[in-house]
């Protein structure tokens, strides 16, 4: 349960599945996320049997995160970042499931996504997935040590940093060759900055401590404080252990520096 709660914070599920802005109940969904493909509404993931995931099996939950397939066997839009969560281990997905099951059920119907034409036809996802989706889990890279691998696992799979910070192509898929180089058209129209170690456009001049400080408190090296989407992220990353934040910092600093957008 504690492990599940930890993963819940790291993955920041609450940001998309709790409508904080409108004082929504925890995990009841309803939060609007504007994207270049339409506005999506985070579904209810409280264990309510009628309107949440209370009637799901653990296998269905695994399928959702690992394969991006919902309880009706239909493909989910990659607004749900299963493209990253697929990297999570079976054990972690099970822990997260146990945690969610123990939360308070809230009855709240899901809002229909407002998907722009022609993306509102789900079958298009078949092609999208063939082109862009590689199923996980993430295997450790033997060329790097345990700490680096932990950092990569947290950043790429759980905290799914790339989903905001990696530029996307015209079909909305992450351009993996430019990983973490920033996305000027991020969710809700926010600009997600370049967090590769590029010295001019990225965080090349930052120390590991600088990165860990942002993740812990939201404070930037120039004593500015992050806002909007990243502030929500920090609510979660502030609950990680110092070692985990350090691992993420180590991983980020090892990335290919990309001058980017």
């Amino acid at each position: 349960m504690k492990r599940g709660a930890y993963l819940f914070a790291a993955a920041d599920c609450a940001s998309c599945h709790t409508d904080v802005k409108n004082n929504g109940k925890p995990l009841a969904g309803g939060r609007a996320l504007a994207t270049p493909f339409g506005t999506f509404y985070g579904p209810n993931i409280s264990p309510d049997p009628k309107t949440g995931i209370g009637d799901w099996t653990e296998a269905q939950f695994h399928r959702a995160l690992r394969e991006g397939i919902n309880e009706h066997g239909r493909y989910m839009y990659p607004v749900f970042p299963f493209t990253s969560f697929t990297g999570m281990s079976d054990a972690d997905i099970s822990d997260l499931w146990a945690f969610l099951r123990a939360q308070a059920p809230v009855e709240q119907r899901n809002k229909r996504h407002e998907v722009s034409f022609p993306f509102n036809f789900r079958f298009g996802l078949v092609f999208w997935r063939t082109l862009f989706f590689r199923e996980g889990p993430l295997a450790p890279d033997p060329a790097h040590d345990a700490e680096w691998n932990r950092g990569r696992y947290l950043a790429d799979a759980v905290a799914h940093c790339g989903e905001c910070h990696t530029p996307r192509n015209f079909l909305g898929a992450m351009k993996t060759s430019e990983a973490y180089a920033g996305n000027p058209a991020g969710p809700d129209g926010q600009k997600a900055p370049n967090i590769t170690p590029d010295p001019a456009k990225g965080i090349g001049k930052w120390s590991l401590d600088d990165i860990e400080t942002v993740l812990k408190t939201g404070q930037l090296p120039d004593f500015d404080f992050v806002g909007s989407g990243m502030a929500e992220v920090v609510k979660g990353t502030s609950e990680l252990t110092d070692a985990d934040r350090h691992a993420i910092a180590v991983y980020l600093k090892s990335l290919k520096p990309i001058p980017g957008s």
Binding site: G218, V226, G227, S228
Partner: protein, 159 residues
């Protein structure tokens, strides 16, 4: 040939329009100036925080840290006054990072500013006592529940 009264009326109208335009232009200038002023206040705060953090971490120059904390409390008293309507990121795209949410939820916004003021005062108190541990805690509290809280809800960095 217009009648004298009509001429007068037309002239008065023309003058009114020019004054009106001038007034609008001045108002826009005033609002732009407010945006610049508060961005200056924000920058001053980050400069102040830097000096304070140096004392908290290294123990040197407590006097400077206290001075900067006094500057922070003074700024926090001024902050509630620099958000006139018409200065949001929609009104000044590319210049202002102030989300329209501020004016939609002025009560919550002002409450956050009050939190900043209270946190600044606590920080000042700890620094005056020379209690670096307490100052560190107050610094963290200011960052998380003050600066961070306000930026989280009300600032969008579009520039």
């Amino acid at each position: 040939m217009m009648k004298k009264s009509l001429q007068f009326g037309a002239a008065a109208a023309a003058v009114a329009v020019v004054i009106g335009m001038g007034a609008v232009a001045t108002m826009a200038e005033d609002l732009a100036a407010v945006v610049k002023e508060r961005q200056g206040l924000m920058k001053q705060q980050s400069d102040d925080l830097k000096v304070i953090k140096a004392y908290i971490d290294g123990g040197t120059d407590q006097a400077a840290a206290v001075e900067k904390a006094k500057s922070l409390t003074a700024i926090s008293a001024k902050l509630p006054e620099v958000w006139p309507a018409g200065t949001s990121s929609k009104d000044f795209p590319g210049k202002s990072n102030a989300k329209p949410d501020i004016w939609q939820d002025m009560t919550k916004f002002k409450a956050t500013l009050a939190t900043v003021k209270a946190a600044d005062e606590k920080l000042l108190e700890a620094l005056e006592k020379g209690d670096r541990a307490a100052a560190g805690a107050a610094f963290g509290d200011l960052g998380k529940n003050g600066c961070g809280a306000c930026h989280g809800s009300f600032r969008e960095k579009l520039t």
